[in-house]
């Protein structure tokens, strides 16, 4: 149990996907203008991460490893992720149109979000078992959502700040992300047990 808690904390804070592994930077810069959209995007990413993390684990362990097809890993993973996202989108549109309205527009963007494929590959690199992969996916998604919300909170304030013209928009967002990454690197010294 404590092992699972460690995995969760490590994924969410110490090795935060945005600030430590640089995964999911594009949505991080693109969608983090308002807290509300940041929250929807974060929820969508976490949801897809958990489902695709679990299904790519099954594919890796019960298909690719069993039949000795390691070289098909990347095409297989990305196809599974792309079709999963498509399925989720169709399902939400048909049965949960209210949820679809809040984060439906972010779903197509998620296919090319490197955090999703990154998570699937990390599960296989770190050799996690099924439960560990599941917890790691939730942790990674929460960490991503946290990063997005912090950033959105700062950028909402930034809109009324007198930023020098060449720094407007992306450059200042990157510099703020750098300072946040510095803060997050403080978690590195976190020890357990």
């Amino acid at each position: 149990m404590s092992n699972l808690i460690t995995i969760f904390i490590a994924a969410a804070f110490i090795n935060n996907f945005v600030f430590y592994r640089f995964l999911g930077i594009c949505p991080f810069l693109g969608v983090s203008r308002h807290i509300k959209s940041a929250l929807s995007m974060g929820a969508a990413v976490t949801f897809v991460m958990v489902i695709s993390g679990v299904s790519t684990w099954l594919i890796q362990n019960h298909l690719l490893d069993r039949f000795g097809l390691p070289f098909l890993q990347y095409p297989a993973f990305i196809l599974v992720i792309a079709s999963l996202v498509q399925l989720i989108e169709m399902y939400l549109k048909r049965y949960h149109s209210d949820i679809y309205k809040t984060f439906g527009i972010y779903l197509p963007l998620i296919t090319t979000n490197c955090a999703i494929l990154g998570l699937a590959l990390l599960n296989s690199i770190l050799k996690y078992n099924f439960t560990e992969s599941f917890v790691y996916s939730i942790g990674a998604g929460s960490g991503f959502t946290l990063a997005l919300i912090i950033m959105a909170g700062i950028r909402e304030k930034l809109e009324i700040a007198p930023v020098p013209k060449p720094f407007r928009n992306i450059p200042i967002a990157l510099i703020i992300a750098g300072l946040l990454a510095l803060a997050f690197s403080g978690f590195t010294s976190l020890r357990f047990g």
Partner: protein
């Protein structure tokens, strides 16, 4: 100007993927702690861009438009696997350092973006020129970023010591923070240069 030349040149500066289009941020930030890593990542991306650009430009008439994105992704993923195995076989050290970020070329938005916006609509020669321009533009951006971070972080450039042993090295440049801040400053600098060029042209 000859159209393919124009397609080639725009990727180098005017539509530089890393500095102007803000695409492919994950590898840009993640592997640029050393110049040589940036170079390797840039060249791997260049290879995948050109190879999949050629294939997609040739078979663009055969792919039904509804399933084009999955088709593109599978083509890209195959070339990424090729690049991955090539690096693992011949450049083991670099392959180890780049690690996770090589397979992530599959979801690099530059590649899918260029396939969707350019290679699927233009003839072969133009697509190749565009892919080379974008790939080289991405490569020089990564090498520049990597050089600045390596010089400030380790006092070396491509592994050769430039600043002597007196230089303690800035730890922050080796950390993720250094990546974010250096890239932010570079994009700002590029904005300033472009603004200067525009005002002198008028």
């Amino acid at each position: 100007m000859f159209q393919p030349t124009k397609d080639f040149l725009k990727g180098l500066w005017k539509q530089n993927p890393a500095f102007r289009l803000i695409l492919g941020m994950c590898p840009t930030l993640a592997v640029t702690n050393m110049a040589v890593n940036g170079l390797a990542m840039g060249l791997a991306t260049l290879f995948v861009l050109v190879a999949s650009g050629i294939i997609i430009s040739i078979i663009k008439g055969l792919i039904p438009s509804k399933v084009r994105i999955p088709c593109y992704i599978v083509i890209i993923a195959s070339f990424v696997t090729l690049a991955d195995y090539f690096l693992a076989a011949f450049y083991t050290d670099i392959h180890k350092v780049l690690g996770l970020y090589i397979p992530l070329i599959v979801v690099n938005c530059i590649i899918l973006g260029r396939m969707e916006a350019f290679a699927s609509k233009n003839p072969l020669l133009n697509s190749i020129a565009d892919a080379f321009g974008m790939g080289l533009g991405f490569t020089w951006a990564l090498v520049l970023l990597g050089s600045v971070r390596e010089l400030l972080g380790f006092g070396t450039l491509f592994g050769a010591t430039l600043l002597g042993s007196w230089y303690p090295g800035m730890l922050v440049m080796k950390l993720p923070t250094g990546a974010f801040i250096t890239l932010g400053l570079m994009i700002a600098l590029m904005n300033i240069i472009n603004e200067k060029v525009r005002s002198t042209a008028q």
